[in-house]
Symmetry: C2
Subunit: 449 residues, 2 copies
């Protein structure tokens, strides 16, 4: 593989510049910022490496950028990525412009560097390097790059229904991946599902002087009481039926968890907290992290939130509730249970809106692609790879892979302090370059497997 690695090292600046250009193009799906421009740019990148690439309409959502590059072997490897990124707010916590893709202290800083533009750029670069050095790919490659992952992939099911043929592959490399706090590469073999809900409460027709709160309904109180009915300080979700379909981990999965290294002290230090919820440690902490669902307030807003005091009675209140699901919870069933619970508890006045439901999915520990990715990590990195039966995150793994029987696993250029979804998102320049080599090695090995 040295021919490929040398080429990648020699052209590293070119590949880094391509990543910077991609990061510098904002693409916030949640805020409808720069989406068309970014889809066009990604299509241009695919065409630039010889792919037949086009945009596919998703019937109501942002287009999927799809591209194929034919190779020598009959096998097909797909790359799932997304060109949308998280919103950048709060802006004042960024140390440099989130859209500048500034290189500082050996890292590239900016929204999307880790999640997920760094991986798009590394995969495009790997295909480019392979073709430049060897004149062609060892297998067929498909790029499936959607524009709505950060808002829950609400229209991807239209793409998979309309274009099942385009989705078919022998294996899929998932959009993210990278190193843990100890610098060990981590391979995830699944994702949690998600049921993301916006709750809305209304009171008077506009904000009022708070002196009339004696007798005028307050939507902020309604919302707080409704939220408090969902989960108490013991962290147990109170929605009846919420846990009914939760499948406990198998002995093999628990064994995999036990093989995963402990890094509790580093995680606590990184987060700036004294202890984990419920004082959990060891295998119990891992079981909760990987095999338990969550119910999280991701946002809440009502009334006056500026400096100092304003004596106002709010007319509206809103909360975002993010529920991560595990097998076999179904997001639509969970949403129905939530609605029923709110009605039963006297909160039928609270409006609930389902945003981007996703099912949980997992790849078997024994899958070939998992072995190939782990081996490739082992060869390129100094530390022993960690295999995780599932990530705590979510995405359309079921929709794009599990439902077609495609095994998937992660491989990416991020690290544990990449700050995905937070201010100061970043990746290491070295990881980006090594990530390009990693994809080359995976293509080479999977073609021969």
């Amino acid at each position: 593989m040295d021919d490929l690695y040398n080429h990648i090292d020699e052209h590293a600046n070119h590949y880094i510049a391509a990543l910077q250009r991609l990061v510098q193009q904002p693409s916030v799906a949640a805020q409808n910022v720069g989406m068309a421009e970014t889809a066009a740019l990604v299509q241009e990148m695919l065409v630039g490496i010889g792919a037949e690439a086009r945009l596919y309409d998703t019937r109501g959502g942002y287009p999927v950028v799809y591209g194929e590059v034919a190779g020598a072997a009959p096998k097909t490897l797909s790359f799932y990525n997304h060109y949308d990124v998280q919103p950048v707010e709060p802006l004042d916590l960024w140390q440099s412009d989130p859209w500048a893709a500034e290189i500082r202290d050996g890292r590239i800083w900016g929204r999307g560097t880790s999640d997920n533009k760094g991986n798009i750029a590394a995969r495009v670069a790997a295909v480019d390097a392979y073709r430049q050095v060897r004149g062609g790919l060892p297998l067929n490659v498909k790029f499936i790059i959607e524009g709505e992952e950060e808002i829950g992939s609400p229209h991807l099911e239209h793409f998979t229904a309309d274009h099942a043929d385009l989705c078919r592959a022998d294996a899929c490399i998932w959009e993210f991946g990278g190193k843990d706090l100890e610098g060990r590469p981590v391979v995830y073999l699944g994702l949690k599902g998600i049921c993301y809900v916006e709750l809305r409460a209304r009171g008077a027709n506009q904000d009022q002087h708070s002196s009339i709160a004696t007798s005028t309904p307050n939507p902020a109180w309604r919302l707080v009481w409704a939220l408090a009915s969902l989960k108490g300080p013991d962290e147990r979700v109170l929605i009846p039926g919420f846990y009914d379909k939760v499948v406990p981990p198998t002995p093999e999965e628990v064994a995999a968890l036990e093989r995963m290294p402990d890094n509790e002290a580093k995680r606590l230090d990184h987060l700036g907290i004294d202890r984990f919820l419920l004082d959990l440690t060891g295998i119990e902490l891992k079981k909760r992290d990987y095999f338990q669902p969550t119910c999280t307030i991701s946002g809440i807003e009502s009334g006056y939130t500026g400096q100092g005091s304003k004596t106002v009675l709010p007319s509206r209140a809103m909360a975002k509730v993010d529920m991560r699901l595990v097998a076999d919870q179904d997001p639509h069933e969970i949403f129905a249970l939530l609605r029923q619970h709110l009605d039963d508890e006297g909160f039928s006045d609270i409006e609930a809106i389902l945003l981007g439901p996703e099912k949980p999915a997992r790849t078997p520990l024994s899958a070939t692609i998992a072995q190939v990715v782990v081996e490739a990590y082992r060869e390129l990195y100094d530390a022993e790879p960690v295999v995780s039966p599932t990530s705590a995150g979510s995405g359309p793994w079921y929709e794009l892979c599990a439902r077609f029987g495609i095994d998937a696993c992660t491989a990416g250029v991020g690290h544990a302090r990449s700050q995905a979804h937070a201010p100061n998102e970043n990746i290491y320049v070295d990881d980006f370059v090594r990530g390009i080599k990693h994809i080359c090695l995976i293509m080479d090995r999977f073609a021969r497997s």
Copy 2:
């Protein structure tokens, strides 16, 4: 009084222009916007009517603008006002620029038109008119115009301690007042107290990907649970001792409430709601509105509050809690009870900050100034005045009047749809002009009482 009234009608445009100029000067104490400029402008207005006027330092807060105009009689009437206004957010709900003081459909629109610059301008105009027409005032007048009423007058106690002599008067006309939904002038004889608290919760040192919510503390949940421990859907405050010092209304006060006209249907229609809290109506509704304390969420914020979904685990959460107090609740005692309650309920991690405490205070129904103001309203307005034993609002009535034994009551140019503290604040031009006459008549009658 016709000489005065004619002069006021002839110079109405001049007085209206002075009000517009004052509204056009932003002065948001909570946001430290335009405060020095506004204090200087108000001082200039007082100097313009022959007052000895100066700014008094309040040891850490915005200055008090104080002015005296000597008159014929030994009696002294003070006017309490404030030159600060509420924040204007949310800006998108205003139909015209909040700082434009636009005249439209017979009203002047803008932040502070009702609360409280309309009353400053009307009182200044009344003194001007009296001096122009009659060559001098019938009694001594004091203007005490502070800059922190909307943030709870936190430094006014320094002014009253340092300058008790300046506060002394035979009676005080309070800062606000005006007409109810039926167009009846309302005279308030007291105020509720207030204990306005900001609650803050902290989690990880920055916002995180929500997937780690399995084991990472969420300050939004902490805050929601703490808030839910303060009051439940039955609207009863759960802080132990909160109600201990609440004095029930006297039979005279209940009789006064019963004399107050009902306007429940109009109020409901104005607010756009179907019914009052707890389905209250009639005397029970009035007793709650005027003689019961409140505990109100005036603002809450955490995490992502924009459009769509963002899967974030917030690192901070904040709420503003506005508690209106009735005799004999003390805001410092209430704050201590709140702190104790939070600690007892397991929320010692929640920080509580007291912003602008104020004691409740009431003037006797029989006070001379109350009779004078009511009589003057009766003479100038078509509708029978309503006497209310207290307003549901708050202010430094105790600090500036009750503690010096000064009787106070309200008289102002607002109306029930003035939208004080909300978007589209406004007063009627006619009410402003009549309000000038009203103050002239009050000075005349109180001098002779």
